[in-house]
Amino acid sequence: MPDAMLVQGNEACARGALAAGCRFYGGYPITPSSEIAEHMVRLLPDVDGVFVQMEDEIASLAAVIGASLAGLKAMTATSGPGFSLMQEHIGFATMAEVPCVVVDVMRGGPSTGLPTMPSQGDVMQARWGTHGDHPAIVLAPSSVGEVFDLTVRAFNLAERFRTPVIVIYDEVIGHIRESVVLSEHVEVEDRPYPASEPADFWPKLAPAHGVPPLPAFGDGYRFHVTGLTHDECGLPTTEAPLAGALMTRLHRKVADHAAEIIETESFMLDDAELAIFAYGIVARSAREAVVRARAEGVKVGLIRPVTLWPFPHAEVAAAAKQVDRVVVAEMNLGQMIGEVERAAVGQAEIVGHLRADGEPIKPSELLAVILAGGGGET
């Protein structure tokens, strides 16, 4: 068993990526994510991987997509301003079904904003940042150990569903150092590979449902990849039935497996009358506040979405049903709270504890909110 190490969140991300089989990193410097690149450039050569620093974040994700089509598991990492630039290729990777992982270490925005104070202001962008209807898989770790685990999971989901997967965490999680034991051997999934010989592969590419197989460029399978709406052979089309079929398949390949993708954590929720909904670093503060409030006899618990998207509607609805009030605490001016309201409509009163000033939400702050019964200032 490996020893415990003092590891930074961003380093855990790089190590998780390697454990998951990532062999290509393309990125552009931006605080507070740069340590991921700085670790990858040192780690990748030892496992016969490749690192490249690109000219911007648009190019970074383009290079990642190119490398993925060449058969390598590939990733990039950035922060808000770069995440905005990457939206173009998050859409491309979704449409062309190219597995890849994008890490967004959130800082205050909009624009250049607050380098480099923590924020959770990108969680809606992670869902809807690229244009058009599209599925999204977004994972939100709240500790260094979980950054490692969820980076591994992100690669596995990206490969399984042939779609970009986003790992999103705030600057505190990125830069905090914690004592963790990182597994060297993790369960790894690979993308579906064609069962047919190259001669029988093209032009019948995609099944009507699910995830089509993806060989690598250079394997002997010659095929076309495009961001245009395409038919099952991969060729561009504007015919409504074919366009509709593609959009439905892209949506359903994720939606039909939402229950497997969604992960939540509950803490002291069983007899709670008040629930805190929090994710990322705020969930750490909330957990501590719950422990302190319980010591004073207050029946409060925590529900934490580990998967932000697809949103855990059923889990949040169930939690809301058993409490009188849900406090949504997040480091933005109210993003996930709208989704909590949709899930919990009619079940419980939903109130927000929101801040977007670059300061993390502290346990003492949430304890005061809990002791005030969930009301108080927001």
Binding site: V50, E55, A67, G218
Partner: protein
């Protein structure tokens, strides 16, 4: 002439190009070069952006990636670094490669990554309906320049030499044999090779500037005496808007060639 149909996805046709467009001639010359070099069809990857020229990759039977507007060199960089045994060829246009994608193009050149970029310059945005491009000559008419283009244009080859491309050439769609020869040289060159192909757009550029149909534009191009999709020509398009820069001679052929280290990414070095 070589039978190039084995390199085509005939089932993907009819194609989207307009009558008179020279891009098909350019594609044929390219496939002749592929045939001459006896490149393995399974190991040839073509990467394109958005625009008329970029749509060519849908019709060729290689591994083909039709990416996003202007970003083809960045996609190609990842592809080549991840799988160095692939021959990677980018097809881009003047708007795709020099406007929205200018940054990616110059950085790919600077790195001297071993890919080939064919930039089909038809002096205008064709697919979107004839808007002015960074290659539209000053004074020429475009849908967004109804009184004549007010901006000076890029010389793509000078730009690429400056950016560090180790092979830079210009050829004319009107001279297909020369095209094949230069493209083959570019693809054989170790490092970043750039071939600007002067093509035509009779549907928009030709029509707006009263230059005739495709055949007439190619004839003029071959004679090099009119500004038919020839950005460095001497023709003045609008009498009251004189070009601010002195017209340069349209130089074709291999304009620059050097041997310098090829970028292969940060990876385990030989012997380490």
């Amino acid at each position: 002439m070589t039978d190039v149909t084995s390199y085509l996805r005939e089932w993907a046709m009819p194609h989207v190009l307009c009558p008179g467009c020279a891009h098909g001639i350019v594609l044929r010359s390219f496939l002749e070069a592929v045939d001459q070099l006896q490149l393995d069809q399974d190991k040839l990857a073509m990467v394109a952006g958005i625009g008329c020229s970029s749509r060519l990759v849908g019709y060729v039977d290689f591994c083909t990636l039709h990416g996003t507007h202007g970003r083809a060199p960045a996609f190609a960089t990842g592809l080549k670094l991840a799988r160095p045994e692939l021959n990677v060829v980018v097809i881009t246009g003047d708007g795709d490669g020099l406007a929205i994608g200018g940054n990616h193009l110059i950085h790919a050149a600077r790195r001297n990554i071993d890919i080939t970029v064919l930039l089909l310059n038809n002096s205008i945005y064709g697919m979107t309906g004839g808007q002015a491009a960074p290659t539209t000559p000053e004074g020429a008419i475009a849908s967004t320049a109804p009184a004549g283009n007010a901006e000076p244009m890029f010389d793509a080859c000078k730009l690429l030499v400056g950016a560090g491309a180790s092979f830079v050439a210009r050829v004319l769609a009107a001279t297909p044999l020369e095209m094949t020869k230069v493209m083959a040289e570019g693809m054989s060159h170790p490092g970043f090779s750039f071939v600007e192909v002067i093509s035509d757009c009779p549907e928009y550029y030709g029509r707006y500037n009263q230059l005739g149909g495709g055949a007439q534009m190619l004839t003029w191009m071959a004679r090099r005496d009119a500004g038919v999709a020839v950005p460095l020509s001497t023709k003045r398009f609008v009498n009251h808007v004189p070009p601010s820069t002195a017209p340069a001679e349209l130089v074709t052929g291999v304009l620059h060639r050097e041997v310098r280290p090829v970028f292969t990414g940060v990876r385990r070095g030989p012997g380490s």
